[in-house]
């Protein structure tokens, strides 16, 4: 069994890569069969990943080195708690997004569906690949594939505006990629190794100047995908893609790849002590805190629902970055767990936005008066996501924010506690009115109960339940909380007793 599990990370990457080839070959004419391939791949992928959870929590590190791709640097796969946490959430949500996307793409009568599902599968392969990368080169390899594979999804509509946005996206993505390549070659030239190590492998003897160069190059590379201001502007624009892409890639897989990069950078390359010592932690924390507040304020001004959600994503990604930069074990725990809770809540919100669009063609917040009467299930799920993001107990967001706040206090950085609290209020200010409008106001357009297709409503209900469960019993779903604890333990050596 263990021998098999060493192969599991590679098989998990291949599962969706195979789907990426089979899906376009099957083609639009046999779309039910085509959709079946996607589901099979998604389920196989998730099962392979979930099978590794017990072993990894018990201290196993599955994986293997394939071939050498540079002197001393292999194509290396290692499954550790950090990668597994992210991989489990991304692959689980891919299953739901697939079902949802069938409903969405058919409902919206989108063109080029084979290309869409194929590229989505490539993105998932790349995401899982970077989760399980054992060294920086392998990580960057998948990071770049992810960048390129997202491009056809961004320009999916084929409109002039989509191409313009696609161009902007590519410039950001290629720039970020080059920055990472530059960073990794610099590290390799000086240290001769690129292997991720819990607690880091860089040390102060390499010189502050060199370490700052490495930090800046990697921070640009990761900050772009994580939407840290001033590198955020592509993300709201990328919402021009079909909503399943916004939901899975631009709330979970792609953007969290950037956040995950920061986890690797701080926890596995620098190590918390060195990161604090050179002062990079303070700089990163300030950028993240500014991003949280500015993005929340911009979100309030947006009438377009997806744009509002996008700015909310920008803010919440920086919650995680800030949690990492605070460096206190509790804050890291909160940050790691927020990767999951935010994914659950935000994907619910995007799913709802897409269902509203497909079903009623409405995209603006101001058009949603009374829609709760027509689509009560959808809007109820939206409500759960909204209060969760604001940090109300019983939804997952409360748990992660709690630890983030406690961590900020522990580290003696109470200012960031205020950032979290203020931003929570702002979250409520830009999300809750949507729900109250939907249920408390009335409109002649929405009088009868008439929900979107079950292919969309059922995934929405599941992600909503997922968000709730994370709040009620954080370790109940796929042991995410234990995985988050294991990350903190491996990076800082601090173990928590008892959990929640």
């Amino acid at each position: 069994m263990d021998g098999f599990l060493d192969l599991a990370p590679i098989l998990a990457i291949l599962a969706s890569a195979v789907a990426a080839v089979v899906v376009p070959l099957t083609g639009e004419k046999r779309r039910n069969l085509r959709e079946t391939w996607t589901i099979i791949a998604a389920v196989v992928k998730f099962s392979l990943i979930a099978m590794m959870i017990p072993g990894v929590l018990a201290g196993e590190r599955y994986g293997m080195d394939l071939l050498e791709i540079a002197p001393g640097i292999g194509l290396s796969f290692r499954v550790d708690p950090a990668g597994l946490l992210f991989a489990t959430s991304a692959s689980f949500l891919w299953i739901l997004t697939s079902f949802y996307a069938f409903g969405y793409m058919r409902g919206a009568k989108e063109a080029k569906q084979s290309r869409f599902f194929s590229m989505l599968a490539v993105c998932l392969s790349a995401t899982i690949g970077l989760c399980f990368s054992g060294n920086i080169l392998t990580f960057v390899l998948f990071y770049e594939i992810l960048s390129v594979a997202t491009y056809p999804l961004v320009i999916h509509s084929g409109s002039k505006k989509a191409y313009e946005i696609g161009r902007q996206y590519l410039i950001y993505a290629l720039g970020a990629g080059m920055s990472l390549v530059a960073g990794l070659t610099a590290i390799y030239a000086v240290t001769g190794t690129l292997e991720f190590q819990p607690g880091g492998f860089l040390d102060a003897e390499m010189g502050t100047g060199f370490l700052w160069l490495v930090f800046i190059l990697f921070a640009i590379g990761f900050g772009m995908k994580a939407g840290v201001i001033p590198l955020q502007s592509w993300l709201p624009n990328a919402m021009i893609a079909p909503t399943p892409v916004s939901a899975l890639l631009h709330a979970v897989a792609v953007v969290k790849a950037g956040v995950f990069g920061f986890v690797r950078l701080v926890g596995y390359m620098f190590g918390p002590e060195l990161f604090a010592e050179i002062g990079a932690a303070t700089v990163l924390a300030i950028f993240a805190a500014v991003t949280i507040l500015v993005a929340s304020l911009i979100a309030i001004t947006k009438d377009d629902l997806k744009a509002r959600l996008a700015y909310s994503t920008v803010g919440h990604l920086s919650y995680i970055v800030l949690g990492i930069a605070i460096l206190a074990p509790q804050a890291m725990l909160g940050a790691a767990f927020h990767m999951i809770t935010h994914a659950a809540m935000k994907i619910t919100l995007f799913f709802c936005a897409g269902a509203i669009y497909v079903h009623t063609k409405k995209t603006k917040v101001s058009q949603l008066d009374g829609i709760g009467r027509q689509m009560p299930l959808t809007m109820a799920a939206f409500g759960v996501g909204a209060v969760g993001l604001a940090g109300v107990p019983l939804v997952g967001g409360f748990v992660s924010k709690w630890y983030l706040g406690v961590g900020a206090l522990d580290a003696g950085l109470s200012i960031y506690l205020w950032v979290f609290l203020l931003s929570g209020l702002l979250n409520a200010a830009y999300l809750v009115p949507i729900v109250t409008r939907a249920f408390l106001r009335s409109s002649p357009d929405h009088t009868r109960f008439n929900e979107a297709s079950p292919l969309m409503v059922v995934p929405i209900a599941i992600t909503m339940l997922f968000a709730l469960l994370l709040g009620i019993h954080p370790d109940g779903v796929f042991r995410f909380f234990s995985l988050a604890e294991a990350i903190v333990a491996s990076v800082t050596g601090v173990t928590f007793t008892g959990g929640i």
Binding site: L67, E68, I69, A70, P71, L137, V140, L141, E144, I145, V148, I155, G158, Y163, G166, R167, L170, I171, L174, G175, G177, M178, S179, V181, A182, L184, T185, A186, Y188, A189, V190
Partner: protein
């Protein structure tokens, strides 16, 4: 097996002569002879790699049995086998591709084209395997004459563009020959191994220094390094696609190879970096060339001209590897020879395929081409990803090695140049990807077959599903696969061939 070094250049030479004779009677027969000879040389080169890597020793062959310092010697070592395989491999693929393309672009000139192609391959392969400084000049001129013939058969402006190339080529060759003469008069030998043994005693000699500078300058001119690149855009723009597809990938690289050969195996270790700063000079010129080529490529409307400017930048990557003069940087430069040969060969062949199918050469006209010839355009996307340096394609790894080399040499400016130029090539290539995959409904009229001189409907019969015929598509497919496979398995090449080749640097 000991005849392998001699077989690699002589097989295609014989094929070239025979191909001309046969070709005057039967075009098809002449073509097959040229193809067979080139393919035989390719097989010999692959066997050469096998022999050299298993024994770890170079294969030496004395021509006509004359003992080396007096007679001419062919030496097949790791680096020579690497180059010879590249040259003959590209030769085979382009010859496979050529007939349809030539019939479309330069009808009536095919009889002389196939022997010239074989002769070009022979000349370049000869440059790779020769162990003799003067003999290298002979092969250099053979290859150059064949290249002039191939390039001048293109559009109306072709002959004049080629004349400029010929002048630069002749000056470059002249410099090199003069350098060899200096070496001969000081050392008394022109056998590379023999010169290498005798040189260390003479490093202070000004005539050796002059000889070294003259040889390198001559080869740098042949290499098309900025600012002596100016012939390249016009030549590639006006040449037939198959000629450009053969010459652009390999011709300039072999001159770069000759510089590397001089640096590693003829002159004492450190001579090019310490005694005279040739390597650094080439590095700086290359850095300027990379930026210049990338920036000018952005403005081009003609597909072939864009590729030509891109080539100006790309050959300079090899120059950058020479400039770094540390093992990993030089490995990056040498690996980039193969990578760029594959990518640029692929791009020129795709250009020829587009021209065959639609008659288009200007990028603005290519709107919506992805619908018309999707498979060719997928191959184009692969080539673009490699040119920009997206992993795991070949282009990524040579850049990574070069960047590591740049950091190790503290050459931060060059490091930045590689980054900037990658982003610039991203701009000009992705712009085109966007263009060909856009829906062309609004502007479709302009790009119709009949309006622009593509093949007629009758000729199109037998082509693969509205694409180009198999004889043109298979080389494109092979090159696309190679771009990815060479990337993924690049380290096998590095370990087996390039690390032994740069060993003199490690030892020094």
């Amino acid at each position: 097996m000991s005849q392998l070094p001699a077989l690699i250049p002589t097989l295609p030479i014989l094929a070239a002569l025979l191909s001309l004779l046969v070709g005057l009677r039967s075009l098809r027969g002449g073509y097959l002879v040229a193809l067979a000879g080139t393919f035989a040389a390719f097989v010999a080169s692959v066997l050469g790699i096998w022999e050299v890597t298993t024994s770890g020793q170079p294969i030496r062959y004395a021509v006509s049995g004359w003992v080396p310092p007096i007679g001419i010697e062919f030496v097949l070592d790791h680096l020579a086998a690497y180059m010879a395989t590249l040259i003959t491999g590209i030769g085979v693929l382009v010859l496979m591709y050529a007939p349809r393309s030539i019939r479309h672009e330069s009808p009536g000139k095919a009889t002389f084209t196939y022997p010239s192609m074989a002769l070009l391959v022979a000349g370049l392969a000869g440059m790779s395997v020769t162990g003799d400084l003067f003999n290298l000049y002979v092969f250099l001129e053979i290859a150059a004459l064949a290249a002039y013939a191939l390039l001048a058969t293109g559009d109306r402006a072709g002959p004049f563009a080629t004349l400029r190339y010929l002048l630069i080529g002749a000056i470059g060759g002249g410099f090199y020959l003069l350098g060899v003469a200096f070496i001969y008069f000081s050392v008394g030998s022109i056998n590379m191994a023999d010169v290498a043994v005798r040189l260390p005693d003479l490093v202070e000699s000004p005539s050796i220094m002059s000889g070294a500078v003259l040889m390198v300058v001559g080869l740098a001119l042949k290499m098309g390094l900025f600012p002596m690149h100016f012939w390249m855009p016009d030549v590639y723009t006006n040449a037939p696609s198959s000629s450009a597809g053969l010459i652009a990938p390999i011709m300039t690289k072999v001159s770069a190879y000759a510089i590397v050969r001089l640096m590693l195996d003829v002159f004492p270790p450190g001579y090019f970096t310490e005694a005279i700063p040739i390597a650094a000079t080439i590095g700086w010129i290359s850095a300027a060339g990379i930026l210049f080529g990338s920036i000018l490529a952005i403005g081009q409307q003609d597909y072939r001209r864009m590729l030509a400017y891109s080539s100006v930048g790309q050959i300079a990557y090899v120059g950058l590897g020479i400039g770094l003069a540390n093992p990993i940087g030089l490995i990056g430069g040498l690996l980039h020879m193969v990578n760029h040969a594959l990518m640029k060969g692929l791009l020129f062949l795709i250009g020829g395929a587009i021209r065959w199918r639609t008659g288009l050469v200007r990028i603005p006209d290519m709107l919506g081409l992805g619908r018309k010839m999707p498979w060719t355009m997928y191959a184009f996307v692969i080539a673009v990803l490699a040119m920009v340096g997206i992993p795991p394609t070949a282009g990524f790894f040579s850049k990574v090695y070069l960047m590591i080399g740049a950091v190790q040499a503290d050459a931060w400016v060059w490091f930045a140049v590689i980054i900037i130029s990658s982003l610039l090539s991203g701009i000009y290539f992705f712009r085109m990807v966007e263009y060909v995959f856009k829906d062309a409904q609004e502007q479709n009229a302009a790009a119709d077959d009949s309006a622009t001189g593509g093949v007629t409907a009758r000729e199109l019969e037998g082509a693969v599903a509205g694409e180009v015929p198999a004889s043109m598509f298979i080389p494109i497919a092979i090159l696309s696969a190679a771009v990815i496979l060479v990337g993924v398995f690049n380290f096998f090449i590095v370990r087996a061939l390039l690390e032994p080749a740069v060993a003199p640097l490690v030892g020094g």
